[in-house]
């Protein structure tokens, strides 16, 4: 059964074929592009160059996240299975790696399509980028090969490496994730460079320092070398380009290590964990809903829970990473920062607040629903209305826009005395939003804590004291966060950005760590008062899991637009102007419409891949038809 059948062989050839196609396209980029620098732009038929590149890039990125996020999930789960010796974890991990195979070839194919579109429609941009990033592109292809073969080994060696070699197999899994992360880091260099082609002086290579000095001296002949150096500190923002010719001054590493590279890397890495988890949860929810037998329902309920758990683990630190990224953008270019949070993109962040609100409310809803299947969880239900109120009020504050001029009529503005509401307008400020985000995160953590405790009875004799400590730590934490938030209204932004907000984050993290530690000790020898009745979940909660996955993916699409749109009319911000017909920033609604179309395509493709997986499974089980295959057969109608 578990031999390399002709079908798997075919599949391997297919994957390698796709990867080779991508490789060929990639390797000819520089030559191809340099040949055609005379043409700056070529129109893409029907939908236009920008839309074509947009769709291909976003789909490529989503599938890339899929094949990065899902293996991360798989390795974590495999590790848990190895340690707990529960076979179901191992089986679940394997199931997802199989799904990854299909997604992997799709990613490679989409990457090829994207490169083709860029070469065809934006030859000049690409030739500029490949001129700077040439070596990294080769590196990228090497990494892709590494990833391909590791994935192949990891997936097809799963059964053979059980038992004695399990450790090595896990190592392969980790290696796979290292390849994947490295691929993402490399491709991030190109696009972050487009947004922020500058770095801090201290991070420059010697060659770039020299180039920059010479350039500065030639621009300001009245200055001497010493005078320039006196003005410069390690944190001075250095533009990596000749201001007049746009010629690149540094080495590849200088371009790689630009302002937003690391923040984007971290943000995407954490985001991928959450994305992988939510996709797994959505898959489980789908299987749960179509399941016919109790066992199946139990299995997929459990799988959905694990997926959601991993997604939550990624979701909680995600706002912090996003905050860091935003701060770096402000550091790189104040104007870009103001544009992002206060001007052109300010309403985008209101939509983002709606989406993140859905994510947090949905995640909590799922946890609370899950407590319904645990005996002895009823005692926590009385806290729920308060928690709902807190979360909803916080989300409401987060969603409140600062300037209401465009969503209110002239008479309403007269009534409130201007375009800002005198009191609700305060909710529009960053300090208020940071405060409520921290509180929402803490409340979600509390929900999780309740879930964990459900059905267990602590036996430690200090449990009363422990509970008091936990409650007071929570209470104090919230009070400190709120106080810092209120102080934040009065201090200068520099202090707020660099001192207060990090402190808020630290307080929130500290509360979570302290509470987790106390809780672990309290429940170390807990007795079980009620079991988890897997499978007895409401259908509503499964719909919520699907909602979370779609919201998460849409959020990625939306923020992709924001990150790319921040450049406005530039291919490379401040260096290379976009002179094509598409140089304008599209309106928010047309951008989100575009994202919606991409979402539909993405889910159609993912659905197809899932269906392929099911199909293969059904074929294998043909000999012994089960209820499950019938369910699938019905699902395929």
């Amino acid at each position: 059964m578990r031999r390399c059948t002709s079908q798997t062989k075919k599949r391997i050839f297919l994957i390698i074929g796709f990867v080779l196609l991508g490789f060929v396209l990639f390797s000819i980029v520089p030559a191809f592009a340099q040949d055609m620098t005379d043409a700056e732009y070529r129109p893409f038929p029907m939908i236009g160059s920008r839309n074509a590149a947009w769709i291909a890039a976003q789909l490529h990125l989503l599938f890339g996240s899929f094949i990065l996020g899902v293996p991360m999930f798989a390795v974590i789960i495999e590790f848990i299975g190895w340690k707990t010796k529960e076979e179901r974890y191992d089986r679940m991990a394997q199931e997802f790696i199989k799904l990854c195979m299909g997604a992997f070839s799709t990613t490679a194919l989409l990457g090829g399509v994207l490169v083709f579109i860029l070469v065809w429609c934006y030859p000049k941009v690409l030739s500029k980028l490949s001129g700077i990033f040439g070596p990294t592109m080769i590196f990228y292809v090497v990494l892709f090969f590494g990833e391909t073969f590791t994935l192949y080994l990891y997936s097809y060696g799963w059964d053979k490496m059980q038992g004695r070699h399990k450790g090595w197999h896990l190592f392969l899994g980790v290696l796979l994730n290292i390849w994947g992360t490295a691929i993402m880091f490399v491709s991030n260099t190109w696009l972050t460079y487009q947004t922020s082609p500058a770095t801090q002086y201290g991070k420059l290579s010697d060659q770039a320092k020299e180039g920059w000095l010479e350039h500065t001296l030639s621009q300001n002949p009245e200055l001497t070398r010493a005078e320039v150096l006196k003005e410069v500190t390690d944190t001075t923002v250095i533009n990596l380009h000749n201001e007049t010719t746009g010629e690149f001054l540094g080495t590849v590493m200088d371009a790689v290590n630009n302002f937003t590279w690391m923040p984007v890397n971290i943000h995407r890495l954490i985001g991928n964990i959450a994305f992988g988890g939510s996709i797994v949860a959505a898959y489980a929810a789908f299987r749960f809903l179509v399941a016919k037998t109790k066992e199946e329902k139990a299995h997929y309920d459990w799988m959905g829970y694990n997926g959601n758990f991993i997604a939550l683990c990624g979701l909680i630190p995600l706002p912090f990473a996003g905050y860091w990224l935003g701060r770096e953008i402000y550091m790189f270019n104040n104007t870009m920062g103001v544009n992002m949070m206060g001007a052109l993109f300010s309403w985008l962040f209101i939509i983002q607040a709606v989406m993140i609100g859905i994510l947090f409310i949905g995640a909590n809803y799922y946890l609370w629903s899950g407590m319904g299947r645990i005996e002895g969880a009823e005692k926590y239900a009385r806290y729920r209305p308060i928690m709902i109120a807190i979360i909803v009020i916080c989300v409401g504050i987060w969603m409140t826009p600062r300037t209401l001029s465009s969503i209110s009529s002239a008479s309403e503005q007269t009534a409130m005395g201007g375009s800002n509401h005198p009191h609700l307008g305060l909710f529009g400020l960053m300090t208020a939003k940071n405060t409520v985000v921290n509180i929402v995160i803490l409340t979600t953590f509390l929900s999780f804590l309740f879930y964990r405790r459900s059905g267990k009875k602590p036996t430690a004799n200090w449990k009363k004291l422990g509970n008091i400590i936990i409650s007071s730590v929570f209470f104090l934490g919230v009070v400190v966060i709120v106080v810092i938030g209120i102080v934040g209204f009065a201090v200068e932004s520099d202090v707020r950005v660099n001192v207060l907000t990090p402190w808020q984050v630290l307080v929130a993290l500290a509360v979570m760590v302290v509470v987790t530690i106390i809780d672990i000790f309290m429940y170390r020898k807990a007795t079980t008062s009620g079991t988890i009745k897997w499978g007895e979940m409401t259908e509503r909660s499964q719909y919520v899991l699907i909602l979370l996955a779609i919201t998460f993916t849409s959020l990625m699409g939306l923020m992709g637009y924001a990150r790319s749109g921040l450049r406005e009319g530039w291919h490379i911000f401040g260096v290379m102007k976009d002179t094509s017909a598409d140089a304008f920033t599209p309106s928010l609604s047309s951008a989100v419409n575009m994202v919606s179309i991409i979402m539909v395509i993405f889910f159609a493709l993912v659905g197809f891949i899932f269906w392929l997986g099911l199909w293969g499974e059904r074929k294998k089980q043909k000999a012994v038809p089960t209820m499950e295959s019938e369910a699938i057969a019905e699902g395929n109608d």
Binding site: Y543, V592, E634
Partner: protein, 514 residues
């Protein structure tokens, strides 16, 4: 029975799926809403929600989930459509489809609220508080009545290209020329805006028109303008005093050094106070006012000479409307009297030269075309180089300016006046022949007082308003001085006066406010 039931079910399923897809795509494409065809997205939203509900009920779990997923994606698109849009895409109008004037008007509305930025000043709601510019809610109707003889479309065209050509009473000269930077509407966009304006209470007139401007020529002329702001305001202040502007124009906080020097004979003409002139006017207006004082006369400051029923009034034009004028005259002893004069009472004056009648202030014209027996008399509506259009009674009549019978009014040295139709000869010749009462008579020019006699092509009532300000400043001032003067004037926003009065002690402040 069961079979029809299942067929029905299948049909319902397919209908649900179709409706779902169509409404989703239509929503994203912002297609005209069914069934009302408006731009509003609400009907498609309702259709989509109906389709979602239908599919959730009739389909199996897989399609149900797909519907649900599509619903979530749609929800985010809905929020994005609801929040305000900010795009740097100004959109370009490449074509107007005049077969559907309402659609053109709709484009015009978008430009009115968007790129054209008209809505920043103009309101479209009579109940709204008075804006900085006239309300346009009924402009399609009243555009035709704003200027006598101008049809609605011509009025709108001219008002958009040359906003200061006609000013609605009570509103200032603040509208920018919308075809110039920074608004820079294209011809098509202006056409659409005009269609929209006409749709406000009137009929859309799709006749094409030529732009009354030359984009290229004016573009280069504007670039060639001297850099006016390079002047030095301090120097400008000196020019203001030296060029004697100060003797007529008051600027709070600026003392006239010659005041009180006691030149009793020098008559001081009142002229607008300039303390806040730059706060409300553009530099271009200031420049124009110095170079061409008559181009735009501040209400209440124009000087006028009219003859009504034989009496000549010379003074300041206080007010003017379509029926009467009010002239303030000043007698020798300094007493001022206001005279209200009906325009119909004005005396007809003979006109020798028929060019630029309107520009010279003629209101009516009595003219005899060469092929007519009786003279034609009426209000001047429009004129070109060779013709003039008169409003005679309720009709308009266009007559040639060239082929007219001239009228001679000959006065001899005894004061005897002979009026007749001119046949030949001029006042410079030796002889002049006219027809009096059907008889041809020949006059010797030595016998007549040629200084008072007139050989006129026509006659008409005239109301010429002039600025009392001399129009030779361009000759008096050097380019440098002009730039300095303008630089000084553009500092006069009232703020400087406040500053100086603040510094002054309280009693002088009282003086100034008095």
């Amino acid at each position: 029975m069961e079979e029809t039931q299942s067929v029905k079910n299948t049909l319902l399923k397919i209908a649900g799926l179709l409706l779902l897809l169509v409404s989703f795509i239509a929503f994203l494409a912002k297609a005209p809403a069914f069934p009302i065809g408006s731009e509003n997205l609400l009907p498609w939203s309702v259709w989509f929600l109906i389709a979602v509900l239908l599919n959730m009920f009739v389909w199996g779990i897989v399609v149900k989930l797909m519907t649900y997923a599509l619903g979530v994606v749609w929800f985010f698109a809905l929020i994005a459509a609801w929040v305000p849009d900010t795009s740097t895409n100004t959109g370009t109008v490449t074509e107007l489809d005049w077969s559907d004037p309402d659609a053109v008007a709709e484009i015009g509305l978008a430009i009115f609220n968007g790129k054209g930025q008209c809505s920043a000043c103009h309101t479209l709601d009579t109940s709204a508080p008075k804006g900085r510019c006239p309300d346009l809610s009924d402009i399609g109707n009243n555009a035709a009545n704003r200027e006598p003889g101008k049809d609605a479309k011509t009025y709108l065209i001219e008002s958009l290209y040359e906003p200061s050509k006609y000013l609605v009473p009570g509103y200032g000269k603040i509208m920018p020329e919308v075809w110039k930077n920074p608004i820079a509407l294209t011809k098509l966009e202006i056409e659409a805006v005009i269609a929209f304006l006409q749709s406000q209470g009137g009929e859309i007139d799709p006749t094409p028109f030529d732009e009354p401007i030359d984009r290229k020529e004016i573009g280069t002329a504007a670039e060639a303008l001297p850099p006016l702001l390079t002047g030095d305001p301090e120097e400008g202040k000196r020019v203001f005093i030296d060029a004697a502007c100060i003797s007529c124009h008051e600027i709070q906080g600026l003392e006239n050094p010659k005041a009180g020097e006691g030149n009793e004979d020098f008559e001081v003409v009142t002229a607008p106070e300039l303390t806040e002139i730059a706060a409300f006017n553009e530099l271009r207006y200031l420049e124009e006012s110095i170079i061409l004082p008559d181009a735009e006369i501040v209400s209440g400051y124009g000087s006028v000479t009219v003859i009504a029923q034989g009496v000549t009034y010379q003074g300041t034009l206080v007010s003017q409307d379509t029926e009467k004028i009010v002239v303030r005259t000043k007698a020798e002893d300094g007493t001022e009297t206001e005279h209200t004069i009906l325009l119909s009472d004005l005396d007809e004056e003979p006109i020798e030269d028929l060019t630029d009648l309107k520009g010279r202030g003629y209101l009516t014209l009595t003219i005899t075309p060469i092929d007519a027996d009786a003279p034609v008399s009426g209000e001047i509506v429009e004129e070109s180089d060779t013709t003039v259009t008169l409003k005679v009674g309720d009709e308009t009549q266009t007559v040639s300016k060239i082929d007219v019978k001239k009228q001679a009014t000959l006065i001899d040295f005894d004061g005897v006046k002979t009026v007749g139709e001119h046949v030949s000869g001029t006042l410079d010749d030796f002889e002049i022949v006219i027809i009096v009462d059907g008889n041809e008579e020949t006059f010797d020019t030595f016998d007549i007082d040629t200084d008072n006699s007139v050989l006129a092509s026509a006659s008409g009532k005239r109301l010429e308003v002039k600025s009392p300000m001399p129009n030779n400043f361009p000759d008096l001032l050097s380019f440098r001085e002009m730039a300095d003067l303008l630089a000084y004037l553009s500092t006069l926003t009232g703020a400087t006066a406040e500053e100086e009065t603040n510094e002054a002690s309280s009693d002088t402040q009282e003086e100034v406010t008095e």
